[in-house]
């Protein structure tokens, strides 16, 4: 029996979903036109008036929003409610520039947390579960989102936040955590540490929700094995609400988008043209009923495919099929597109762990790629020739996956910093 949080929405017939979306969208556009000067200006600049919007089918007339749009108006970009009605902010990490501040009314917090509760329920969580949240708490949406979702579901919530692995494991064993929420790289690290300490028999986890980073199928299998769980992907971004914009169900063939709140489109990233269902392109979201920060046609830079293929879980929400990587994460090296997730897949295949760093540089006008990976006991041998051989095999496997040469550097175990938030996988030293 599939576990839902709000089956009345999650399994709603498609026609009803479309009706609901249209109704919410028309109301949202009135709100934005009247209360969100930033977007109204944007519409006027594109020569679009509220009168041109007769139904959700007219959405393609509306201008896109980019991360730069949200940064430019810092700190009040896209704010559409008086601050007296706002109860919370969250913020992006700002690692690639100015931070984006997202505002929430109580209504916005509720709908976000309900989305997270749906994701937890899809991973099998109920009020009988102990939900261990090891995402960072604070401005980052990971911790607060899953914390709220777990509350809504009535599960016992452990607000562990990130870091202090010994304390994490202590609570996990003493309180019998059953559902883990964190980044996939931290889940892998917890798995490693549990194996090192030989305490796997004391771990009661059955499921995990891992997001905020791209991860490969190989990494999923490794985490599932190390923690003895089923690992679910969860997707979201602060600009739209936070984690729970979409989530995986038991079928694990893509993530169901919470379509009653977020309208998804796929566009050609070069032309901005809307692409039909089934085609790969850039994911664009419109918030259908968020009040304080009602982002319209936001370009996520995530590349994926949308599909309405019937799902065995009974949910009718459209699915986004896992991007090969964020277009943000994609590196162009010697003119070739390289995704860190491809490198990760090769490393895991070759018996290394997902602890690696990619260093890109430019020497004499030519790009260089170096992959640093930690030596493992399994791959180490007293025979220098064999170690050299393994290194050569890894170089060859990377070359065949990426199409370009990557220098491999084997480093000492634990010398690559473990992430407690987002893993820093790529260091790009090119000054372009």
């Amino acid at each position: 029996m599939e576990n839902y949080f709000q089956p009345e929405f999650e399994t709603m017939p498609l026609e009803k979903i479309k009706e609901l979306q249209n109704e919410k969208f028309m109301k949202q556009m009135q709100h934005v036109w009247n209360d969100c000067p930033d977007y109204r200006r944007k519409m006027e600049q594109s020569g679009v008036s509220i009168d041109d919007i007769k139904s959700i089918d007219d959405i393609s007339k509306l201008p896109f929003l980019s991360k730069d749009d949200l940064r430019e108006g810092y700190p009040y970009a896209m704010l559409a409610k008086p601050l007296s009605e706002c109860v919370r902010i969250q913020s992006t990490s700002g690692t690639t520039g100015k931070r984006v501040i997202a505002y929430y009314t109580m209504h916005d917090i509720d709908l976000w947390e309900e989305c997270c509760a749906r994701a937890l329920a899809a991973a099998g969580a109920t009020n009988e579960d102990v939900v261990h949240v090891s995402y960072g708490y604070g401005l980052f949406t990971g911790g607060p989102g899953l914390n709220g979702g777990s509350h809504k579901l009535g599960s016992l919530t452990l607000p562990m936040s990130s870091g202090n692995t010994d304390r994490q494991l202590q609570f996990m064993t003493d309180l019998g955590s059953t559902v883990l929420c964190c980044t996939p790289s931290y889940a892998a690290y917890l798995g490693e540490t549990i194996a090192e300490k030989g305490i796997k028999d004391q771990i009661k986890l059955k499921a995990g929700l891992f997001g905020a980073e791209a991860w490969s199928e190989e990494m999923r299998r490794d985490i599932e094995k190390a923690l003895g769980i089923k690992a679910y992907d969860i997707y979201g971004l602060t600009e739209i609400s936070g984690p729970g914009v979409s989530f995986e169900c038991s079928e694990q063939t893509g993530m169901h988008i919470n379509e009653d709140h977020f309208y998804a489109e796929i566009i050609d990233p070069d032309t901005g043209e809307v692409l039909p269902e089934g085609e790969q392109g850039e994911l664009v979201f419109t918030c259908l009923d968020k009040e304080a920060f009602p982002v319209i046609r936001y370009r996520t830079k995530d590349i994926c495919v949308l599909t309405r293929k019937q799902c065995s879980c009974g949910r009718t929400f459209i699915k986004m099929v896992k991007p090969r990587g964020r277009s943000d994460d994609m590196l162009i090296i010697k003119g070739v597109n390289v995704f860190p997730s491809q490198i990760e897949a090769v490393l895991l295949e070759q018996g290394y762990q997902a602890n690696y760093q990619i260093i890109v540089d430019r020497v004499n006008n030519s790009d260089t790629l170096e992959v640093q990976v930690e030596m493992t006991n399994e791959n180490f041998s007293d025979d220098l020739g064999k170690v050299n051989e393994m290194e050569k095999e890894l170089v060859a496997a990377l070359k065949s996956m990426l199409g370009i040469y990557a220098k491999v550097r084997l480093v000492a175990p634990k010398s690559i910093t473990r992430s407690e938030g987002k893993a820093v996988r790529v260091i790009d030293n090119r000054k372009i």
Binding site: M375, T376, N377, F380, S381, D382, D383, L384, V387, N388, R409, L410, V411, A412, P413, K414, S415
Partner: protein
């Protein structure tokens, strides 16, 4: 005589070797011999310690990547040509030496050499 040798993965950067000797000193492990094989970016340090299991556990606890392998310890007469006559016997038996290094010996004692060979059983049979 077969003895156990500990090999440790080492990054080729300053201070790495000292991290190991620091640890072993702290744990009061007496090193009888040490040798390093190096490649471009990394190396393998090979150790003969007085208490192998203790040294091995100490290294694993600190997170080093190691492997323990049998090697042959052979005594070499402390006279001119001592090593040469030993190597002649090994060569005559058709045994290939992968690497060798020496154990610190006292003033008038015979030297002790560590051998890694491709056919250790054959070397044992020579009764050197």
């Amino acid at each position: 005589m077969t003895v156990k040798q500990i090999s440790v993965f080492l990054e080729n950067r300053s201070g790495q070797l000292k991290e190991i000797t620091d640890l072993l000193a702290k744990k009061s492990v007496n090193l009888k011999a040490i040798s390093i094989a190096e490649s471009n970016d990394y190396g393998i340090i090979r150790l003969i310690a007085d208490d192998v299991d203790f040294a091995k556990d100490a290294l694993i606890d600190e997170g080093f990547v190691i492997s323990v392998n049998p090697v042959q310890q052979i005594s070499v007469p402390n006279v001119a040509g001592g090593l040469n006559s030993l190597l002649s016997k090994i060569a005559e038996a058709g045994i290939n030496i992968k690497y060798m290094y020496s154990i610190v010996a006292g003033k008038d004692e015979d030297a002790q050499m560590i051998f890694k060979v491709d056919e250790p059983e054959k070397l044992e049979e020579l009764n050197l």
